[in-house]
Amino acid sequence: MRRSKRATATVYLLVVLAVLLFMFPIAWLFLTSLKPSTLTFAYPPVLVFEPTLQSYQEVLGQSDFPRYLLNSIIVGVLATVVALAIALPAGYALARMRVRGRGVLRAAALIPQMLPAIVVVIPLYMIFRSNGLLDNQLSLAFTYLALTVPISVWILSRFIEDLPVELDEAALVDGASRLQILVKVVLPLVRPGLAAAAVLCLLYTWNEFLYALILTGRDAKTAPVAIVGFMTNKEIYWGRMAAAGTVVLVPVLAFGIVAHRHLVRGLVSGSGR
C-alpha cells in the first residue's frame, strides 16, 4: 500500500512514542541501579550522573541475594529438565499414537495454566506442612511441574505433529518400537521444540512468586521472594532494590527475545483449535 508523506511521518512518530512509553520504565530501573546512593532519592530526579556499580556490589557481595539467585536457578532447572523428560513421550503420544480422549487430554494440559495459583497453593501448603516439605528446593521444584509440564506437553505435541509422519511409518514398518522411534527418529528432529519449551519453562519458573512466597522460608527462598523482602524492609534502598531487580531481569529479557514467537504461537493455537 502506498502512503502519503504525512501518513508515513505519523506512523514513525507513533512507533517511536510507543517504544518510548513501553521501554522507559525498564530503562529507569536500570538507571536507578547505576546511581550512587546519594542520588537515588534526589528530587527532581537526576538524569545525568556518574554511573557506579556500588549497588551491585552491595547486593551481590554483601547480602544473601546470590544464594537466592542460586535457589531460583536450581529450582528452575530441575523443574524444566524433569518436565521435558516426561512431556516428550506424552507429547509424542498425543501427536502420533492412537489415544482415546485425545481432546480431553489436550484440554487437561491447559487447565493448570488457567487456574489461579492461589487455588493450588493453599492445599499444597497444607500437604507440605504436615509432611515436613516446606522450605525445600526439591519440593518447590516438584510443585513447579504444575507450570512446566502442561506447557511442555503442549509445545512438544505441536512440534511433533509438524514433523513428517512418513519417518514414523517407515520405522514402524522396519519393526522399530515406539520407544525406539521416539529416541532415534523424533528426538533429533524435535530439538528446536525442546529448546522452545525449555526457554518458556525457565522463564515461568524464574518469574514465579506466589508458590515460592508460601512454600519457602529462609533456606529455599527464590530471588523474587527476596526482592519483595527488600521492598518491605523498614529502610528502603532503591539502589540495591533496582540492582537486584536488574540482575533478575537481564536473563528474562534475553530469554524473552529468544522465545517471543513461540509464546505467541502457542497461545494463538492453544485456544484457537
Binding site: 520504565p25 529507569w28 527532581p44 498425543l94 487430554l105 497444607m126 509440564v149
Partner: protein, 289 residues
Amino acid sequence: MRGPRDRTWAFLLPAYGAILAVVGIPVAYSLYLSFHRWKLTTFQAGVPFVGLDNYIQAVGDDGFWHSLELTIGFMVVALVVELVLGIGLAVLLEQVFRGRRAVLILLLLPMFVTNVVIGLIWRILLSYDFGLLNWLLSVLGLPKVAWLGDPGLALWSLVIVDVWNTTAFVALLVLAGLAAVPDEPRQAARVDGASAWQTFRLITLPLLKPVIFVAVVWRTIDLFRIFDVVYSLTGGGPYNATETISVYAYNQGFASFNLGFASAISYLIILALAFILAIEYRLLGRRAT
C-alpha cells in the same frame, strides 16, 4: 496410525501423573478442606466437618464481596483499555516501516518482566515524593498525585501498570489475526468509497472476532487472578483498596491462617471465573471457535 506393541498409557502416564499430583490432588484436597474448620489456633484439637459453614461465612462476608467487586471492576476497566490500545497498536504495527522486527521485540519486553520487578519499577516511578511521574506532572504545572497512597486512586494506578505490562500481548495476538485477514474485501470496500475507519469497523473488526475472543479469555484469566504485582506494589492497600480476590484469599489463608475458609474462597474464585468466562463466551465466542 498404530504400532505393533503400543503401550500408549506408558507414554502418557509420567506427564499426566505429574499434573495429577501437583494440581489435581491438591485441588481435590482443597474441596475437602473447604468443608472443614482448619485454623492455626484450633487445628491441633481436631479438624471438624462443618458442612457449608465456610461458604456461608464467605457469602456473608463484606470483605469477600468488596474484593470480588473491585477485582471485577479492575478486570473490566483494564480489559477494555488493553483491548482498545492493543488493537490500535496492532493496526500501527501492521504498517510497513523500517526496524519493524526490532520494534516488535522491544514492545513485547514488558510482558516478560518478572512480576515482582514490575511492582518494584512502578513503586519507584510512582513514588509520591521522589517519583518520575510526579516530577513530570510538576513540570507541567500540575499538582503531585498520591498514585499508590490514595485509596480512590490506587486501583487506577494498578490499571496503568497492567496496561503497560500486557497491551503488547493483546497487540501481538491481534497482529497475528490481522495477518490472516484477507486483503481483498478490505480493498474492495475502499474502492467502493468506504473510509478507512468504516472499512476497519465493518470489515476488519468482525473478521478479527475469533482472535479478540482469545485475547479476552487470556486477559480475563490473568486479570482476575492478579496477585504478584498487587502484592509487591500496594500489598492490597491502602485500606484494602486494592485487595483483589487472590490477595484476599492469601490474607485469609496466611495472615489469619484460616485455611478451611481460604479453601472455600478458592472454590468461589473458580466458580466466579467460570461464570465470567461463560458470559464472555455467550457475548463473543459463539461462532469464534
